[in-house]
Symmetry: C2
Subunit: 531 residues, 2 copies
């Protein structure tokens, strides 16, 4: 992974010519940003760890797995939100004091106990793809902060082919997991945009949702068990597929983003690799009619594996990318469907009837195939935009079907008005990519031509979007999670009583407050109560 951008540098994507032509029309004159420092030019603070700290962690993981090099520390300085990438372009950067790479559950457990005893904060680090500030090297009230890199916890630990369950080590990446499973004719089918780098433990900790969620569900629903090391004890949960043995404590750790402990193993439902895949794109007069089509499909059940709807603004830019800019803005809203697995013909027929009834017209398989082939490339395009001086960021929420339009309008307006007040032209696009019987997600991509500092311009606009999401009844995140960026808004969503529940669990499992301080419940969590 590029230290200051997305993915494999060899895969970097130049902006398509049509997009380069379009940008000044949408955003005004764009200025290229100042050159960013090379990795060895970045200034960082001295490592705060003592020789005794190093010896202690080396005794647990081996001295070759304790990394206090500047490069190691800078590569673990944060995630991959646009603010993260902008911070990676600064000359002085906040970084953890060292990177520790445990190789087993027991080593994780011992690292946490040692960190608690030595008053050192711990930031669990999987694929490094958080876009909500969950990986900020925040030390809280502690004297140092470590990045606990979990990539060595990798592999297929157990496979039960009869039950369709696999136990994966938490640091296994998406492609590694699928390669291990496909050797047995199985797959997980979880494809978030971060798929190529993110880890199984990260999917669980952040409540990820992938592009095939209509077919295989959110990651939450794939998880049947979990193993966690906390500073005060291990836990191994999930005995059976259905249970009434008290509250489902697996759900306490799904979405916990490292504040209670470290997920070391995840048991997941797997299914046979589908042998057939069928694509079909649809065109709707507008977003509203497209949303009605998706609602009908989601409430009917047994439909496509992937279904997504781009609004008019996103449809236009996506068509522009393939060179049809002239007619793009008249094209309405596009829908992509993909079908995998059994009974495709029936499912497609039923879905097609519902989409047609809602005003959709089939536009064949080409556009759907194009979407699939480029579906992990968005982050590369963002790097190219940032290099060109165009601000680009995404954010997401979800709500009921009845509230979808008004939430979309409220968030889009907050983004547009926020940028306008800062004197920046912006272009806001939106798509629905996760559907449920009762509602759907909304995923916004915003482009802006910012003439002053992009980070200080963006943060108040993002705050305004968050305020709008909560005021309009949305959730603060559908699948990006809370991290530090959304933590100040969480109490509005789950109430003070909800924050008290999370804080009580944290106080019990992590009484010293070393685990990912400031994430999810924020810095204001009353941990001091327990001294």
């Amino acid at each position: 992974m590029r230290w200051n951008g997305w993915g494999d540098p060899a895969q970097a994507h130049e902006l398509p010519r049509a997009v380069r032509a379009l940008l000044p029309l949408l955003l005004g004159r764009i200025r290229r940003p100042p050159a960013a420092p090379a990795l060895d030019e970045v200034r960082i603070a001295d490592c705060a760890l003592t020789a005794e700290d190093f010896a202690g962690f080396a005794a647990v993981v081996g001295s070759d797995q304790v990394d206090a090099s500047a490069e190691g520390r800078i590569r673990h300085a944060g995630g991959r939100s646009t603010p993260d990438l902008l911070r990676r372009r600064e000359s002085t950067q906040q970084v953890p004091d060292a990177v520790i790479r445990p190789g087993s559950h027991d080593e994780v457990r011992d690292c946490l106990a040692l960190a608690a005893a030595r008053d050192i904060a711990v930031i669990p680090f999987g694929g490094g793809t958080s876009v909500v500030g969950a990986l900020d090297p925040e030390r809280g009230a502690h004297r140092a902060v470590l990045s606990l890199d979990l990539r060595r916890l990798s592999g297929l630990l157990k496979l039960d082919q009869v039950s369709g369950e696999a136990v994966l080590a938490a640091g296994t990446t998406g492609p590694e997991a699928e390669a291990l499973l496909s050797a047995h004719g199985l797959e997980l089918g979880h494809y978030p945009q971060s798929f190529r780098y993110a880890t199984i433990g990260g999917f669980a900790a952040a409540r990820s949702s992938g592009q095939n969620s209509a077919g295989y569900g959110r990651f939450d629903t794939m998880v049947t068990g979990i193993r966690v090391a906390t500073p005060t004890g291990d836990i191994d949960l999930g005995r059976s597929p259905g249970s009434a043995a008290g509250p489902d404590l697996v759900r306490v750790f799904l979405g916990s983003e490292g504040i209670f402990g470290v997920i070391t193993e995840v048991r997941v439902r797997v299914h046979p690799v589908p042998t057939e895949r069928v694509f079909e794109a649809w065109s709707f007069p507008d977003f509203a009619s497209g949303a009605e089509g998706l609602r009908a499909v989601a409430q009917n059940g047994g439909g496509p594996t992937v279904i997504r709807l781009s609004d008019e603004a996103e449809t236009a830019v996506s068509l522009a990318q393939v060179g049809r800019i002239g007619k793009a803005l008249a094209k309405g809203a596009s829908v992509v469907t993909v079908y995998e697995g059994d009974g495709i013909a029936e499912r497609r027929e039923r879905t097609a009837a519902l989409l047609a009834a809602a005003g959709g017209t089939s536009s064949g398989q080409g556009a759907a195939e194009e979407w699939v082939s480029g579906r992990f490339d968005g982050p590369y395009l963002r790097d190219s935009l940032l290099d060109a001086g165009v601000f680009c960021e995404t954010l997401e929420t979800a709500t009921t079907w009845a509230n979808l339009q008004s939430l979309r309008t409220a968030v889009a307006n907050a983004l547009r008005e926020g940028f306008a007040d800062a004197g920046a032209k912006s272009y806001v696009m939106c798509h629905v990519s996760h559907v449920y019987p009762t509602g759907a997600s909304l995923y916004f991509t915003v482009l802006a031509g910012i003439r002053s500092d992009p980070l200080t311009t963006w943060l108040p606009v993002k705050a305004r979007a968050n305020d709008a999401i909560l005021a309009a009844g949305g959730t603060i995140s559908h699948h990006h999670a809370v991290g530090r960026d959304h933590a100040p808004w969480l109490a509005q969503e789950i109430g003070e009583t909800g924050i008290r529940i999370l804080t009580a669990i944290k106080r019990e499992l992590d009484p010293r407050g070393i685990m990912n301080p400031g994430a999810v419940v924020g810095a204001s969590a009353p941990l001091e109560r327990i001294g």
Copy 2:
């Protein structure tokens, strides 16, 4: 509801003649039990509430909703497990000091605050159908105990037809909820055996699962939001159908059985009332081949709304009930399927192919219709058996498909051996009634001819079955919940760290420990830590 048995006395079911003939063959000579006391013959302790207590609660709910009558207290003395019913046949009974009937969320909240201030334990009481001791009038360390009867919290509070969501007051019973929804062409489709009496809040608090779970899911999966009053604050959860806004705290309250607070409103997913229903029964050579058939159906998806498999012993008795006892034991294992909703023809065809491939033979619709028509009557039959001196109880668990046979054998053996060691003949039946892609439930019905006191004979046998469940990898409950009866086994399932999490939440929300003391986490929970 009969005060000392199940349901409407007018609906009481005599044992079919074939069953009466069969019982001595299976269980030896049966002696009728001594006559049970009438309600007004039951001895109970004096009410421990003071005049000040009465005045306080009357000020909250109105004096007509505070009931300290012997009848009211006896009617709230417990749930409907066989031990509960045996205790209702004793001359002296443990009962709550009074019954309070709040009429709104705010009245519930005020009752809890008052009870906490006055050192009185509170047992939330919905339909009174718990079979795990969740309604025992346990006062713990407090000076009195109240039953908080929630039946006045009844009604359809909100309906969003576009999104397919309804908000129901927690005390609404199953039939009331379905009647309110059917006026709008909608249904919930949740049909546990307790359906006729149990409440929406009880379904949520106990993580209920209904007979249509293959089609509409467990109650857990129907719940999209929840409102709870705790002794220290309200909470209102569930903003959107999918969210990554931290851990899903709805799940903290599903399965909490009143130990954190009182669920007052539940938001649920609803769907159109199905217009068509198709039944089909199947016969398999044995339980093992039937289980393979169910596994294929569950892993394929999009199958029946109801699917259940009775083992050889249950199949024989069920055939005996309709008068075919001679051939019954040679009949193998029977499967019932029911299809509702869209695409029945396709779903039935696909399911039939899978069941036939596993060795099943269709036996037409008759047997399936018989099962449907009698599906809520099991508890009436139990009353008749108890009246005849036959001990009858049920228990349930779940596990992965790979572990299903060995768990079934282990539990059945524990039951048989437990009764044999107590000198009682027994007959153990089992069915699978809830299937998942990765596993299934196992539901045991045991009959025994007990010559000494049935309760003191049963409790050690039940303990042995619980030990066997945990040793063989099952969950301590699939849908009956934990209550007090399973609480001593919960730590084996979720670990000491799991118990610490539940206790930490309880300490935060209910620092005085007044909520349902002894349930779920047991009496040994270290609540004293907070003084």
